[in-house]
């Protein structure tokens, strides 16, 4: 038996643009599943194929064992929260929520009862008589959710539902969405370009790029073990180093040759062989920075570096440390223990270190891969106003 929701080798072209390029995905019943990627990666097209607004050029879509590829939108047990909510302006909040049931021809009393239940769920009982342009953005959002949920869909689709809200409201709605998902227990398919939203809500995430799924996994898997340089750069910040596998150290570790670095040891989970071209990716928060040379264990990498920039960000500080051609981002959390120390300043010579298990290797295939890497993600996580994005910072001038 196939999974609850299945995309089978789905293709969709617009002219010569391959919006969705051979996507196969399985989504489980009750799962909070996110499609994450930069704009134009095909995630919205995939969602519209699922809703029935687009027909794939090739491939099939199955919902609960039924082939729904050719089914028109109004015959699918799938409902959508649209990006700008698409509430009907000529109907009141109550009428908007009841719209789907009225279409079904359900009797008035039942509709009233169901709508009342929904109004209670979204805590808008006292707003029922208002029109959409008389309620706030967050309330519109909730009406859109109620309007979709009242249809008791098998799958709820959410197309960047928080994009139109300001930061504070977004964080509040994030929690609300999570609660609603727990409460109704249906499958959510959530489209977003915001990795923070995807990471905090999802059971699993499919990271998409150029119409393809780059990686599918839990938020932790995707963050801790990205399978491509695109994923590594798109999810969170990272430092890339270009090198080759030099020799194997025991069964699980490899020593790398990277220009300017004394031997770097890294966990080798990908069975890469000696001589393979690789990128080493190390997240900025996995790197420690110190004035004194730390003790070097078998599985730690210590490199002398020169601090070029220090950006204080409240909860943490960003350091930019130079090692030969590389400008390396290091994030250091602040805590009580560090406060007593003399803070590291611009221009100091320091040591940076990271554990062998905190770096991961990505195979270096082609030019296009490199080009990808050079492209900074359009929106890097939280308050990222401290100079250039770490993802671009691998090779300085």
């Amino acid at each position: 038996m196939a999974e609850f929701l299945e995309f089978e080798n789905v293709h969709k072209h617009y002219g010569r643009v391959r919006a969705v390029d051979g996507v196969s995905l399985s989504i489980r019943r009750g799962e909070f599943f996110s499609l994450l990627g930069p704009s134009g990666c095909g995630k919205t097209t995939l969602l519209r194929i699922l809703a029935g607004f687009e027909r794939p050029d090739q491939g099939r879509v199955f919902l609960d064992g039924q082939d729904i590829t050719e089914l028109p939108p109004h015959k699918r047990k799938v409902n959508t929260i649209f990006q700008n909510y698409a509430l009907f302006p000529h109907l009141t909040v109550r009428q908007n929520i009841g719209f789907g049931l009225k279409i079904e021809g359900i009797d008035k009393a039942t509709i009233e009862r169901e709508v009342d239940a929904m109004l209670a769920l979204i805590q808008m009982e006292d707003q029922a008589g208002k029109y959409p342009d008389q309620v706030s953005g967050g309330q519109k959002q909730r009406v859109a959710i109620a309007r979709a949920l009242i249809k008791k869909p098998d799958v709820l689709l959410l197309d960047e539902p928080l994009a139109a809200l300001d930061l504070k409201l977004r964080q509040k709605m994030l929690i609300e969405l999570d609660l609603i998902h727990d409460e109704v227990g249906i499958t959510f398919v959530y489209v977003t370009h915001d990795q923070g939203e995807a990471m905090s809500l999802s059971d699993r995430i499919a990271v998409m790029n150029h119409g393809k799924v780059e990686q599918l996994g839990s938020p932790t898997e995707i963050y801790e073990a990205p399978r491509s340089s695109f994923v590594a750069a798109f999810i969170g910040d990272t430092n890339f180093f270009e090198g080759t596998v030099d020799e194997m150290v025991g069964p699980d570790y490899s020593r790398l040759a990277i220009d300017g670095f004394p031997d770097v040891v890294v966990f080798n989970d990908k069975q890469l062989k000696t001589g393979d071209l690789i990128y080493l990716s190390v997240r900025p928060e996995k790197i420690r920075i110190s004035r004194d040379r730390p003790e070097q264990g078998a599985h730690s990498n210590v490199v002398p570096a020169h601090v070029e920039d220090v950006v204080y960000l409240g909860s943490h500080t960003k350091y930019w440390a130079r090692v030969q051609d590389y400008r390396i981002a290091v994030y250091q959390q602040h805590n009580r223990f560090l406060l007593d120390e003399q803070p590291i300043r611009w221009g100091e010579d320091v040591f940076i270190r990271w554990h062998a298990d905190d770096g991961f290797m990505l195979e270096r295939y082609s030019e296009s891969d490199e080009r990808l890497m050079g492209t900074p993600p359009e929106e890097v996580g939280e308050a990222d106003n401290g100079g250039e994005s770490a993802a671009t910072g691998s090779r300085g001038a």
Partner: protein, 303 residues
Amino acid sequence: MAARAPRPGPAVPEGRRSRGAEWSVTLPSFLWLVALFVVPSVIVFAIAFKPATPYGGIGEGWTLETIRTLGNPNYPAIVWRTIWLSVVTTVACLLFAVPMGYFMARAPKRRQNTLLLMVIIPFWTSFLVRIFAWKMLLHPEGLLKRALVALGLAGPDTQLLYNPWAVLLVLVYTELPFAILPIYAAAEKFDFRLIEAARDLGASPFRAFRSVFLPGIRRGIVTAMLVTFIPALGAYVVPDIVGGPSSEMIGNKIAQRTFVDRNLPEASALSALLALAVLLPTFGVLVLNRGRDLLAPKSENSP
């Protein structure tokens, strides 16, 4: 009165704009309307109560004589014809204009402009010339007639011209662009994602069109109704040229009273009747619309 500062925020509710500023802006057009619409209308109404002189002038004193001429036994048939022709013209125009407006608004931007141009192009030819062109087409020896006969759709004796159907056809032709333009204008601003939302919630394509698109362009439809119905009611060139005596409308009678009988009071009485017939439904529609807007007050308790 000091103008109240507009509230910050995206939508300043209509009712809260300063009344004073509103008056100063609308005063010129208000005076214009009074001088060129209200005053002449009152004069027309007044003349209806004046006696006519044998030489086409207006006599002294006041009389109800002219009003009594409205009891002319010929009039009810003409009034009835005028009304049904206008109603059917309006309905037919809407039936063409709504799908057309929808289609135009959904077309790519560049094609929209082309289509708009095609709707407007007929206006570049004189109205009179276009009506005469229809007369040529519908003429017993005309192109259309011969084509229909050749196709076996009409007998050789079928009369296409000089009947109410010819008037209806040409009225629809004349008024259609005026119906399309306001509907297109409304459809062009319509958010077509709402149709997707309705489809998503279980509405068939037709149901989505009916319950979301039509209400969405309601204002355009009301405008289209008014701008087709009112000119159709007052039409006189079209029935005069393609209608003949058996298809006269009120407009023809008014023209006859003015130019043939040279009886201005009787012409005025008919005009007043027509004006009332136009104004009352218009007010009705406006009040109805206003009522719906009042049900949806925009200014209260917005968070």
